[in-house]
Amino acid sequence: MDDVGEITRLLARLDEERGAGESAALKQLMPLVYGELKKLARANRHRWSGQPAPGTTSLVHEAYLKLAGQAGAGIVNRSRFFCVASKAMRSILIDNARWQRRQKRGGGSTPLELKESMSVSAQRPEELLALDEALDRLDQREPRLARIVECRCFGGLNVDETAEVLAVSPATVKRGWSLARAWLYRELQAAQP
């Protein structure tokens, strides 16, 4: 089975299973979505010639469209996918920031193919990596807030979309987002040399 088919299947499994089965499915799902997003980004880069190339937001949406297109309407759980894709986008951007940091330090292996279309502006890899670590800490204390940050910041989802993905009200998202931002910002300040 191809990746898209496998992603569809795993997403469906997420809906049915709870607990161990769920997290096993998630574990298998992440690298596939990661790969799929990278593939899309690469395709977009090569396709680019006068059309606007997409940022992360549109990548997530485009990936969803592709998935839904091949799975038939309404069959893919949109919220689930956006949630997973936001996570995947987070790790793509973080991996890329790591690579950028290595480049800066003069080291580095082969460049990731995504750097043109997906890197956060070059001077910020340190900030992004610090954010990633802080976000892990937030995740340990309050996973719900970490999900909001992933959706808003990495998935590029707006408040309403985030609310839909996390099945809460937009007001809840706004509140959580306010706290998470301030909290993370404080962590970043503290982490600065």
Binding site: T8, S49, A53, G55, A68, L145, R181, L184
Partner: protein, 917 residues
């Protein structure tokens, strides 16, 4: 440091942020009085970080999100040389080209200019023509508020470009916000925009893409209109059509008028709509058409003043919590309430004809408001709202097939008309009997044949008829008297028609008409013969001939008898049947209305025939998806009937049931449900629980519940209907129909195993009892195919649906919802197989058929269009898909309201596409 519970922090932080900065200290004092002082300290710290954190994340977000192709193009071509110009940076991109800030190389013109260059890969003949048309159009315009055309040419590669004055400034929304303009200043500025647009309209140009990013305010405060990329000369002939369509695909959905989204003709009122959106945004900081969560769907956007008022209530939110693009906070809702509300909403009406006809009138009203004079928009508002009621909502297709059972079991379109036809037949028979004493026996015999009662005895009747027909040829008595022969043949022919023996009927009726001097004769017997022949041709599907004959009968009868005569009405209704069968629904509606009108006049509002006419018209509107109008008529009919009959009279019950169906289709679930429950209650009392009528109402209640995704309750009601229908005598069609629908419910509920078992057993029995090609058997099979697809078994789904399509088209016709459903299932299968071109072809076919049969804005047509959009996505045609999704979204939002799941589905797809582009 011991950190306080994040949940508690979140709550207090949100509450504190809702207060003004100076009130936050006291709030924290009182809120944290019982808590650990550490909590209070942490809160204070986080509050202090709030603004900087918001800024940091805002920046980060835009860094992550904003990598756009624009930057890439300009990065790829830093300081390109184009003709005598050198580019400095890319500053924008329209549908067809990139816009650069540029300067002249030779320094002959020292101002910076804006240079628009056609995209390399958009250099198709069509778009090139469009691009040059824009240049041409700009050359003819000269207005202080319109960016001037300075130059134009072709690059070395042959790509056309043109040069305009460069407007260094801000989009009007940003300008107003940044300068914190007061309402009056905003309106004065907006009047300059209107002035420019009026100038366009006077020059027969429609801009078609007015939006803040095309309306700049320069450093001197001067408004400049930009980007005429899809502007259109109203005087353009049909030659331009292809190009125009391309243009329509390029517009910006948020500012596009409904008619633009629907691909309908564009007028100056289209720009008025966009101006309305811009004004709305200037006043409220957001665009209309995004109703607050939790509010019910409206036909018009929320009044601008309500938005400001609501916002005022939650004062002093953090800046980041304000909607982006928010207005100067100085705008008080009181300034906007009243006139400005009315002006905005009038500009934003969905129907172009009820907006301001041009920008100039909109401007005049704003002027009047500024001068304190009464505005013109106000007057018509109440009438408008009332008139609007009937056109509001409609509903998706899933319900339709389930509910149609109700309608046929209620009152068929022709019920009233049939009675007339039967009367006429009896009359004719009596006449024949009177005039032809010789054939008394025959006439008696024939007139005793009631096709409804003749079931099972058909052979006998047919035999008698055949004998009678044989006698005519031999009887010298008859042969010598053409009038007698004609009358006898007419009687025999009509009876054959009623028995469905059309070939035999045709022989006699054609001969009868011929004997009467052909179908063009004018005496009453000749007309009767012609009318019967017309009726027969209708049944034979020879619509053109039927129409010609019946139309003439109608004309002559109207001339001789007057239009109110029963025979004229009869002809009119026969003609309506032909038109209906030929798919000419608009004309049928006119006739239905005419009949209703005559009956109202002659018989009175509350005569049973008038009520039947009302119901007939309503049913035909319903079938065409015009549920709102149908509901109004059902309501009227029901009200008249209830004056004379009890609520539990079978006719009243049927009308209530029809009304509930209309409510269901309109998404008015609560009303539909309570009405249907009443019907069930009365019906159970009068007819008994174990009656088909009651069971039908219970089935429909199940449908109503299922449409609201209340599956558990739906299951209960459907099981109840099934239990009754199983015990009823007869062919058990209803029993299987309910089971089939229950299987659909299980499928949509995600209970695939249950759905499968039910589909399989129902399908087996339907096949045994009614045959493989019975329409209801086919519908069940089609549902099963959709289930197979959802189970991921594309192969089985495909094998099944391929068997169904042809027979279904045969028995149902190309425009029937059942067939269209199957087409769409096949399209989804093709999509899952990544055969996008095939999926596209299928869904296009479905859209065309649904639009033909039901109208382009019928729920089913919209569903098909959405399927088409998904196929386009597969083809990587994201723009076309986006525009189609926008159309479906606009259509569904209008019909179903903004909160309906179908609307949300379309909005999600549209949103995904917007962001993918």
């Amino acid at each position: 440091m011991i950190q306080a519970s994040l949940e508690r922090l979140e709550e207090l932080l949100a509450e504190a942020l809702e207060r003004r900065p100076e009130d936050r200290g006291p709030f924290l004092d009182s809120a944290c009085s019982g808590d650990d002082p550490a909590l209070r300290r942490e809160l204070e710290e986080l509050l202090g970080l709030h603004d900087r954190a918001a800024e940091f994340f805002g920046q980060l977000e835009s860094d992550i999100v904003a990598t756009s192709g624009l930057e890439l193009e300009s990065a790829a071509h830093p300081r390109m040389r184009i003709g005598p110009y050198r580019t400095i940076e890319a500053i924008g991109h329209g549908g067809m080209g990139v816009v650069f800030r540029a300067e002249r190389v030779d320094g002959t013109y020292d101002q910076e200019v804006a240079l628009k260059l056609l995209h390399r890969d958009m250099d198709t003949p069509k778009l090139r023509a469009r691009f040059l048309a824009e240049r041409q159009l700009l050359a003819g315009l000269s207005h202080p508020n319109i960016a001037r055309l300075l130059d134009g040419g072709v690059t070395d590669e042959g790509r056309p470009y043109f040069v305009m004055e460069h407007v260094a400034g801000l989009p009007i929304t940003h300008y107003c916000r940044q300068n914190r303009l007061a309402t009056e200043q905003i309106l004065r500025l907006f009047l300059a925009v209107i002035d420019a647009v009026s100038y366009l309209h006077r020059n027969l140009v429609v801009h078609r893409d007015l939006k803040p990013s095309n309306i700049f305010v320069d450093q001197s405060g001067q408004v400049k209109l930009l980007d005429f990329g899809i502007a259109k000369l109203l005087a353009d002939g049909p030659m331009e059509v292809g190009v125009t369509r391309t243009g329509e695909r390029l517009m910006t959905p948020e500012y596009a008028a409904p008619e633009q989204l629907a691909g309908m003709p564009v007028t100056t009122a289209t720009d008025v709509y966009a101006l309305g959106v811009v004004l709305y945004e200037l006043l409220t900081g957001r665009r209309p058409g995004l109703p607050d969560r939790g509010t019910t769907a409206r036909d018009l956007p929320t009044r601008p003043s309500s938005i400001l008022r609501t916002r005022r209530k939650s004062t002093n939110k953090a800046p980041s919590a304000q909607p982006s693009g928010g207005p100067s906070s100085d705008i008080a809702w009181r300034q906007v309430a009243g006139d400005l509300d009315t002006i905005c909403l009038m500009a934003l009406r969905p129907e172009p004809e009820s907006r301001y006809p041009s920008a100039e009138q909109l401007g005049q009203d704003i002027e009047r408001h500024l001068q304190g004079l009464p505005v013109r928009a106000r007057k018509s508002t109440l009438g408008y709202r009332i008139g609007k009621f009937a056109r509001r909502h409609r509903r998706g297709l899933a319900a339709m097939t389930g509910v149609l059972a109700l309608i046929t079991a209620g009152f068929a379109r022709e019920r009233g008309l049939r009675t007339e036809a039967q009367q006429a037949r009896t009359e004719a028979q009596q006449q024949a009997a009177k005039a032809l004493a010789v054939l008394d026996f025959l006439s008696e015999l024939l007139s005793s044949i009631d096709p409804a009662k003749a079931q099972g005895k058909e052979v006998t009747v047919a035999t008698v008829l055949d004998q009678a027909a044989g006698k005519i040829a031999k009887s010298a008595q008859i042969r010598d008297q053409p009038a007698v022969e004609a009358a006898v043949r007419l009687t025999i022919g009509k009876t054959y028609t009623a028995l469905g023996k059309y070939a035999e009927a045709r022989e006699h009726l054609e001969r009868a008409a011929e004997l009467r001097g052909g179908v063009d004769a004018r005496d009453s017997d000749a007309l009767a013969a012609a009318a019967s022949l017309g009726d027969l041709y209708l049944r034979l599907g020879r619509y053109d001939e039927a129409e010609r004959i019946l139309h003439r009968v109608l004309v002559v009868r109207t001339e001789i008898l007057g239009e109110d005569h029963p025979l004229s009405l009869q002809a009119m209704n026969q003609l309506a049947d032909v038109l209906w069968a030929a798919g000419r629904h608009d004309e049928v509606e006119a006739i239905d209305r005419k009949t209703l009108d005559v009956r109202r006049r002659l018989l009175g509002e509350d005569h049973p025939d008038t009520i039947k006419s009302l119901n007939g018209l309503a049913v035909s509107l319903f079938i065409r998806g015009r549920y709102g109008e149908a509901a109004t008529l059902f309501e009227q009919a029901r009200a008249f009937l209830r004056r004379q009959e009890s609520d539990s009279h079978p006719y009243t019950l049927a009308l209530s049931s029809n009304l509930a169906a209309a409510y269901l289709e309109m998404g008015r679930y609560r009303e539909a449900e309570s009405l249907e429950r009443e019907v069930i209650h009365d019906s159970a009392r009068v007819l008994g629980e174990a009656h088909d009528g009651t069971a039908l109402a219970v089935h429909n209640l199940g449908v109503i519940l299922a449409q609201q995704a209340r599956y558990t309750e739906a299951e209960e009601q459907l099981r109840r209907a099934i239990a009754v229908r199983e015990r009823l005598a007869g062919d058990k069609r209803g029993f299987f129909f309910s089971r089939s629908y229950l299987a659909d419910v299980y499928r949509d509920w995600g209970r695939h195993a249950k759905a499968e078992a039910l589909y399989l057993s129902t399908l087996k029995q339907q096949r045994q009892n009614f045959g493989k090609e019975d329409p209801e058997t086919l519908k069940t099979a089609s549902g099963l195919a959709e289930l197979r697809l959802r189970q991921g078994d594309r192969r089985a789904a495909e094998a099944l649906i391929v068997q169904i399509l042809e027979p279904q088209r045969g028995v149902r016709g190309e425009e029937h919802p059942d067939y269209l459903q199957s087409l769409m299932t096949l399209a989804r299968i093709r999509r899952a197989q990544r055969r996008y071109a095939d999926a596209l072809k299928l869904s296009e076919g479905a859209v065309a058929a649904a639009s033909r049969g039901l109208g382009a804005n019928h729920p089913l047509a919209l569903t098909a269009a959405l399927e088409q959009a998904r196929a386009l996505v597969g083809q990587q045609e994201h723009r076309a898909a986006r525009d189609l999704a926008a159309r479906v979204y606009a259509g569904r939002a209008k019909l179903l309201g903004d909160q309906h799941p179908d609307t949300v589905e379309a909005r999600n797809l549209l949103g995904d596409l917007e962001r993918a582009l």
